[in-house]
């Protein structure tokens, strides 16, 4: 074999991840209610960060409007549950519907370049917000709740939402891992770095970008739908707020943009900061802003980027390494 796609660290990582997953699956039987609720939030953050990283980090598509899919995921769940669909099925179908909707959206949004795309997505999110407000079921900014969750006892509900979030997070991360390692994954990074050159060597940029866009839309909709499940109430203003994208940007920039591990690390950091400092009010937001500024100034590749280049550490490799044996013998 002349090309390696894994290393000693990544093999250890796989085992550690399996172990961690097993621990997380049995956590509901041991942990307190509060821990379960907080972990659910963490899983959703990781999904959000990973999805934004998919678009911006690997695809160069910097969207400031991912709250569109977050909000629509929650809204579609409300609508489907209102039609009588069991809430947990609704969460999943809602995300699929939003994924389908993102296909026509991609048709015109992906024609926009760089900042135009970013701002255009924000505009679209605002339009989505206004349209959802027109639905009488939502009662404008008053909002509504996912009432059908009341069919479950509070303890059961908490565990089910936790498990749903765990399954969704794991599924999306595994999906992203394989997407990035596929032919499309390396093509997307080529497009990010130079679309004209990618075109000149046979890469179909529009198609690749479309699939990444749809994947990120689907994942972000899953996050929105899960958020609704754990918060149970829906106000359009909250769900379609740009703050969600701001959080995603924060997590990805601090963790390490364009690195699989970076988004996860960023989400963990954001979660930790929120857990410890959210009570400090305004200073919490000031702190988040300061950290983001400092990171982009001194660690442009984020925390994971710095770790990676210092230690040569790749825990979840999505790239290609030419093996040492291949590099050595030929000295032509």
């Amino acid at each position: 074999m002349s090309i390696k796609r894994s290393n000693a660290y990544s093999k250890v990582t796989i085992m550690a991840v399996m172990l961690l997953l097993m621990v997380l699956v049995i956590t509901p039987f041991t942990a307190s209610d509060n821990v379960l609720e907080r972990l659910t939030v963490l899983f959703i953050y990781i999904i959000m960060a990973a999805m934004w990283n998919t678009l911006a980090g690997f695809g160069g598509l910097v969207s400031i409007g991912q709250q569109l899919f977050f909000g629509l995921g929650a809204y579609a769940t409300i609508r489907l549950a209102h039609l009588g669909m069991p809430p947990f099925v609704a969460v999943f179908i809602a995300a699929v519907l939003v994924g389908l909707l993102s296909w026509p959206i991609s048709k015109f949004m992906l024609r926009l370049k760089a900042a135009e795309f970013g701002i255009g997505m924000w505009v679209l999110a605002s339009v989505g917000h206004l349209l959802v407000n027109l639905d009488p079921l939502i009662q404008g900014e008053t909002g509504t709740s996912l009432i059908s969750l009341n069919a479950y006892q509070i303890e059961t509900r908490r565990v089910l939402i936790y498990l749903a979030a765990l399954i969704c997070m794991s599924g999306l991360l595994i999906g992203l891992f394989y997407l990035l390692r596929s032919k499309a994954g390396i093509a997307m990074q080529a497009i990010r770095d130079n679309e004209e050159a990618a075109d000149s060597i046979g890469v179909d940029a529009q198609t690749v970008k479309k699939w990444f866009f749809i994947f990120a839309a689907f994942g972000t909709a899953v996050a929105g739908a899960l958020w609704l499940a754990q918060a149970s109430s829906f106000q359009p203003k909250t769900y379609f707020s740009v703050q969600w994208t701001a959080y995603m940007i924060f997590m990805v920039l601090v963790g390490g943009i364009g690195r699989f591990e970076g988004a996860i690390l960023g989400a963990l950091l954001f979660f930790a900061v929120e857990t410890w400092f959210a009570d400090t009010g305004v200073w919490y937001l000031v702190g988040l802003g300061a950290v983001a500024v400092l990171c982009s100034l001194f660690l442009p590749k984020g925390l994971w980027g710095a770790i990676e280049s210092r230690l040569g550490l790749r825990l979840i490799p999505v790239g290609y390494q030419v093996t040492e044996e291949t590099l050595k013998p030929i000295k032509s």
């Binding site: 990074q189 130079n194 075109d199 000149s200 030929i330």
Partner: protein, 248 residues
């Protein structure tokens, strides 16, 4: 001038303008896989634009391009790359966030083959041919300008082209490096790849090409045997400023 019927690539009456600026003004061009053609001409003559139009990066304003008896005038570059027609860029356009190997591999897996193992081999072979193997695992943004030019060539080769357009890949090379590059390109020629090479370093160019085209102001002002073209009065006036000895 020559009356050979080419089947591979044929461009007739190519015009290209950007707004009011006429960059190409009625170019006729034809070539086959056994050709090695040099293009010279002063800056702004339209050489790179001609490559862009032939390779599909830009559509001509007027004219027709035929590849293998099929009209490709408006087909995108990615499609032409899959049909075996690929170009390098005068200003290297590496995929800077991924490694040298990955830069080349992405070309192999998209234009040459769908088989991953085959694509690995093609990519490694192209990298070796361009003498870049020691840099294979380096990030493309960490290599120097000359290596970026080599990377342009390696990436283009990984598409397994039948016709290869080279845009000033020799610029800035030392004499020894340039001769090594000539060797590489002669190897490609032997493999049956048709070559079009834009270059200012004429004596390097003449080691490879059998036919020379001189362009000026968007037109071909002379073409044919390299020696004849280089001593053509119109060429000397346009390109050499009329005062330089003919290259031997």
């Amino acid at each position: 001038m020559e009356n050979i019927t080419y089947s591979q690539l044929q461009a007739t009456g190519i015009h290209k303008s950007f707004g009011r600026v006429q960059v190409l003004n009625g170019i006729d061009f034809a070539m086959d896989t056994n050709d090695a053609i040099g293009i010279v001409g002063p800056n702004g003559a339209g050489k790179s634009t001609l490559l862009s139009v032939l390779s599909g990066a830009q559509a001509p304003t007027k004219g027709e391009i035929i590849l293998n008896n099929q009209t490709i005038t408006h087909s995108p570059a990615r499609q032409r790359a899959k049909q075996g027609l690929v170009r390098t860029h005068q200003i290297p356009k590496p995929f800077s966030g991924i490694t040298v190997f990955e830069n080349v591999f992405v070309a192999a897996i998209h234009a040459a083959t769908n088989n991953r193992e085959e694509a690995y081999d093609i990519a490694l072979e192209s990298i070796k041919l361009c003498g870049m193997l020691p840099l294979a695992n380096r990030d493309a943004d960490s290599i120097g300008l000359l290596d970026r030019k080599r990377l342009e060539l390696a990436r283009a080769l990984a598409t397994q082209p039948k016709l290869l357009f080279l845009d000033e890949i020799g610029g800035g090379l030392t004499e020894a490096e340039a001769l090594a590059l000539v060797d590489t390109i002669l190897t490609l020629k032997e493999r049956g790849i048709g070559i079009v090479w834009i270059e200012h370093i004429v004596h390097i160019l003449l080691r490879v090409v059998k036919r020379l085209i001189c362009m000026d102001s968007g037109q071909i002002i002379a073409q044919g045997d390299p020696q004849a073209v280089m001593s053509d009065q119109a060429v000397i006036r346009a390109y050499m400023g009329g005062s330089i000895d003919v290259v031997g």
